[in-house]
Symmetry: C2
Subunit: 184 residues, 2 copies
DNA sequence: AATTACAAACCGACCATTCGGTTTGTGACC
DNA sequence: GGTCACAAACCGAATGGTCGGTTTGTAATT
């Protein structure tokens, strides 16, 4: 059912994600849905958590693919960008936007985003080492990168030119390098 | 009525922006609203255009405040950031998000965004001169900046720490300087 | 092994409300 | 008197949520 909810968010958007739509997609009766999730709000909050787990899993899967190549920057940016790509992020974006005017959803999204950030930091430490990753300039660079990527992801929901987006990310790698080297 | 629509988008979000809500806020009867805008879709498209005009007006107002101080970068970034702040952008964000799953809205938003971009380019030429602004590295820097600011704006709908956001923007100024200087 | 007792999972009809949109009416202004 | 700008009653469809009832699983009792 949670997968169906995420599917609906991706294909129909937040306002199109009705309980009926989720039922149909999950092949479940109204009673079943309402039995497991007392209200629509419950369903959405559960969906947020579900998304958090899936995106977290993606993250560690990517982290496991780290190699010893000297180009750690490239790996780091690719890892981060992975977090902002695909239907999983699209669904997150819908919830993010909707949570602006929904207090209950907002706190769920905030909690989820914090947990994701923690996993991300762990991955960065794995890539760059504890000492380097703990430097203020480094975490500042990560912060800028996250903001940049949110924007890039937001942009790509209207612009569908994936190749151009890829170029932009590659461009960011050099910016990121500058950021962490100038304070080294 | 268009102002009321924008207000609804800001306070109630896209899914909360119903025709009834707009009526109530505008102090207008159902008949009046439907008379001027044949359907809800028409209303939203008109609201997009309305927003475009308002944000465009903001842009030229800011551009008019240009002075001859040497710190053009700071002015440029502030001008850009102005475009991503306040209720006007909040409403735009709602429409942007909704337009992902609504073809009619999408084309309206795309057109609007193009016109805004054109005005922005004009302002940049005014600040940096035609020759400098025409350099590929320059427009690339602007492109990166826009993506970054979209992300920063998206971030600030969940995080309400404006001071921290301001710091991030200030930090970007130095990044931007590096970007346009390294290819000069 | 069979019976009982109970709980959780599940179903789908039903409800009030709200949605976007239509139709009909009405007064003002050219 | 005809058109325009608005008003209000009204419509069917869809919304989220409730409710009584059925099935299924499970553990204790005999």
């Amino acid at each position: 059912m949670l997968d169906a909810t995420v599917d609906c968010l991706v294909e129909l958007g937040y306002s199109g994600t009705t309980t009926a739509a989720v039922q149909k997609r999950a092949g479940v009766s109204r009673g079943a849905l309402m039995h497991h999730f007392g209200s629509k709000a419950d369903l959405l909050v559960a969906a947020v958590r579900h998304l958090a787990e899936q995106r977290g899993a993606n993250l560690v899967a990517q982290a496991a693919a780290f190699d010893d190549s000297p180009d750690r920057t490239s790996q780091a940016i690719d890892l981060l960008w992975e977090t902002f790509t695909g239907p999983l992020f699209t669904a997150t974006l819908e919830l993010w936007s909707a949570s602006r005017t929904d207090a209950e959803l907002r706190s769920a999204v905030l909690e989820f985003e914090r947990s994701l950030r923690r996993q991300l930091d762990t991955a960065m430490e794995l890539l760059f080492g504890d000492v380097a990753a703990a430097r203020p300039a480094f975490s500042e660079a990560i912060e800028l990168t996250l903001q940049f990527m949110r924007g890039a992801a937001l942009t790509s929901i209207l612009r569908t030119d994936h190749r151009r987006q890829r170029t932009t990310i590659e461009r960011w790698k050099s910016v990121f390098t500058t950021l962490i080297e100038e304070a080294a």
